[in-house]
């Protein structure tokens, strides 16, 4: 299949700032401190009762961090994404007039469902509580995007893409497209998800949760670990960033979006959609697989995903030809926030010249023919890195970042 070309002359897209809320705490510094020391943040969940379910292990933003995020009136998801955006906007140093015309794409899966569940619990038991009705106004994922726009007075084109685990990776690809085509000069791209009882119960029902912290790419892996968090990136055209003297962190070299059209939750054995997404990203980045120094994997730790992902990586890169690790082994699966949080992990790794490890990788699966950087972070200054998200429903997104940036 011949590669598609954009109808507009491409404008290089750069990352100028990032903000994160993670189980490690508030901010990029706390995030990198955890990732670069290979500290696994997974443990028993305490946000809601977990009795009667096979697995209760996951990642959770600590209560102290949540308390530091200000108003408890907002939904948990709103508080996460606003805090992550605050950090990013502060570091980007964007003027209010610039922010006004910025685009926003914030991906998510659960929205403010945690608070809506509490309303429904009362409603179901015929004691509907009007005081909890406010939760219905922040229930939809779009309400987190709306909250950001209102808080920072942003009027550019905005959207809330929902692609399950690939939501916020798609958000980054989207903002990149809108900047490249000239629709906007600046955009906020990211994602957020808070833990919800529905997510916890559902993955337990599907028997996809490990009773221990997840073990991606391990021979004895038993499933994933759910988690929560938020990440927001500031993306700009290179011309816009350079003109205002902004610090350029990295460039978004390319991205690919492709669908399996196969099954509601399982990937096809030949991982065909994932391969296409990675190939589109490489084509758009004008890079060969050989030039990729590191892949931040989707790496959930389920038997099926990791197997399918290994097949896809081998097809694109050839066995053993790139270093791979799974951030989900460290912080868990942050659902709609995963794409953006793992993009930030990839960007921080590029800047530091240190690749975060795959935690809990005691016995690597021999059917995964890659060095998955077991346990210990690896010093390795790579120039190009890929971050993949392969979501439920066959939603495949691949992002490629380059640091330092080279421009025509």
């Amino acid at each position: 299949m011949s590669p598609l070309r954009s109808r507009y002359a491409a404008r290089d897209v750069v990352v100028t700032a990032m903000g994160v809320i993670s189980p490690y705490g508030r901010g990029c510094d706390a995030y990198w401190e955890g990732l670069s020391t290979g500290r696994c943040a997974l443990g028993p969940l305490t946000l809601f009762p977990t009795d009667g379910f096979p697995s209760n292990v996951g990642g959770q933003v600590e209560a102290d961090t949540v308390r530091s995020l200000g108003s408890a009136v907002r939904s948990r998801a709103n508080r996460f994404v606003i805090a992550a955006a605050e950090e990013a906007i502060h570091h980007a140093g964007l003027a209010p007039e610039t922010l006004r015309d910025a685009a926003i794409s914030i991906g998510g899966a659960g929205g403010g469902m945690l608070e809506a569940e509490a309303w429904y619990d009362h409603y179901y038991h015929s004691r509907e509580n009007p005081r909890l009705r406010g939760a219905l106004r922040t229930m939809l994922p779009a309400s987190q995007t709306e909250a950001l726009a209102a808080r920072f007075r942003i009027e550019g084109p905005r959207e809330t893409p929902i692609l399950a685990c690939s939501s916020s990776a798609a958000a980054i690809a989207t903002i990149t497209d809108w900047i490249a085509s000239g629709r906007v000069d600046v955009g906020l791209a990211g994602g957020v998800d808070s833990l919800t009882r529905i997510c916890f119960m559902g993955f337990n029902a599907l028997k996809l949760l490990d009773k221990r912290p997840c073990r991606p790419f391990s021979q004895d892996r038993q499933g994933m670990s759910i988690s929560e968090g938020a990440a927001v990136l500031v993306l700009e055209s290179h011309a816009h960033a350079a003109a205002r003297g902004a610090r350029i962190r990295a460039c978004v070299a390319g991205s690919g979006i492709a669908s399996d059209a196969f099954h509601p939750i399982a990937p096809p054995a030949n991982a065909e959609g994932a391969v296409r997404a990675m190939q589109e990203a490489l084509t758009r980045a004008d890079l060969t697989p050989r030039e990729m120094g590191y892949v931040n994997a989707h790496g959930t730790g389920t038997i099926q995903n990791d197997r399918s992902e290994a097949v896809a990586l081998e097809q694109v890169f050839g066995a053993g030809n790139v270093l791979v690790s799974s951030t989900k082994s460290l912080i868990g699966h942050t659902m709609g926030a995963a794409g953006a949080m793992e993009a930030v992990a990839t960007l921080l790794a590029l800047e530091a010249g240190v690749l975060p490890p795959t935690a809990n990788l005691d016995v690597p699966d021999p059917e995964v023919p890659f060095d998955c950087i077991a346990h210990t972070p690896r010093s390795n200054a790579v120039a190009c890195a890929m971050s993949n998200s392969f979501g439920f429903g066959g939603q495949n997104v691949s992002l490629i970042f380059r640091h330092p940036c080279t421009f025509e």
């Binding site: 299949m1 598609l4 954009s6 109808r7 507009y8 009667g52 899966a109 659960g110 929205g111 569940e117 429904y120 179901y124 038991h125 509907e128 009007p130 009705r133 219905l136 106004r137 939809l140 994922p141 779009a142 309400s143 709306e146 909250a147 726009a149 209102a150 009027e155 084109p157 905005r158 809330t160 893409p161 929902i162 692609l163 399950a164 939501s167 989207t174 497209d177 809108w178 085509s181 009882r197 529905i198 997510c199 119960m201 559902g202 993955f203 337990n204 029902a205 979006i257 492709a258 669908s259 399996d260 059209a261 196969f262 099954h263 509601p264 296409r276 439920f392 429903g393 066959g394 939603q395």
Partner: protein, 406 residues
Amino acid sequence: MTTSPPPAAVITGIGHIGPLGSGGRDVITAFVHANTTAIGPLAEFPTHRSTRRLGALIPASALEPTEEARRWSRIGHMAVTACRHAVADAGITESNTLHRFGLVIGSEYGDLQSTEAFDAGFLRRGPRGLSAFLFPNTVMNATAGTVSIALEIKGPMLTLNQPGVAGELAVARAIALLEAGRAPAVVACGVDALFPILYEALGLLNVPSPRGGGEEACTPFDQRHNGPVMGEGATAVILETPEHAQARSAAILAHVRSAHWGGLPARPYRYPALAQLHHRLLDRTLNAAAVPADAIDVAYLSGSGDPDQDTIELALMAGIFGTDRPYITSVTHLVGEHGSLGALRVAAAAMTASSGVMPILDYLRTPIRHDLRFATQPLPATPATVLVHGVARGGVQAALVVGPAT
């Protein structure tokens, strides 16, 4: 004569399932022409617990259970139906034609019905009451997944959650995919379902008519307007680059000359205040289409009957247009309101652009403004240039210019 810029995209097919019928352009044209309403008392819902009675539902017979649909949610079934109608309407018969297509689904509430059923299973019986079938549907992209599998669509697939203008946004966003070269053609679909918990919750939040007294009714732009009457439906639009449509010798229904969206300043969950309105988005949309305001013949507006929304939307129109044109219309009085109804507005606009047929606001007695022209009489059956405009709670605004295929 100056040459217009090329269209942003061409529309080659439209499909719909709703309270007034299920099919392609013939069905849509027929019910727009007939101008009868599907709104009436809801027999299917436990409205004795609700403070409202009216709505519009798709008849059960229109969504037959089939072997293929065994695991589909109801909203997934609606979306597949509408998308299949649109694909047939576009003259696409080979399934592998769709392999390179993209898919954009816009929805306000998604499959909340499955989410409720899933949670209710737990509340009823604890962990043993959970269903593995229902859980994947609790994330809004499941509907797109269902459509992509049924139609074998393998290009980029997006689901956009958006109150109020999810349909317009799906179309505009599909066009942005074409611009970025992500796909040569995209199926854009707006879909929202109506079900008991949603109907009741909206009543508890005092969203639908009658708000603050008066008769429960759907009367957008009229002095009697007191909130929307809820409906449901799915509408799909096939958008292609002109080159792709030409290469497969597709018959073009209409052109989308431009599509833009953004946000007006607003508090979350509220419509923008009058004092906050500006015309930047509308100006940009008209300029990009190279269409002056006085060349717009018809304007499809959100027209839900929400007094705040009606007021600011008409204020925006008054600020851009004069008193002679355009004729302001909407589809809400025919099928009821839902957050992705804008996809039907775009589909209807394509028919208006092609042949001049448009819905007549025959319920209108006393408009809230007298400096605008409303569609109270049919147009001559000639092609028209049409604006589709929507504004949502929270301030998102979308505008598209749809013109005849030249």
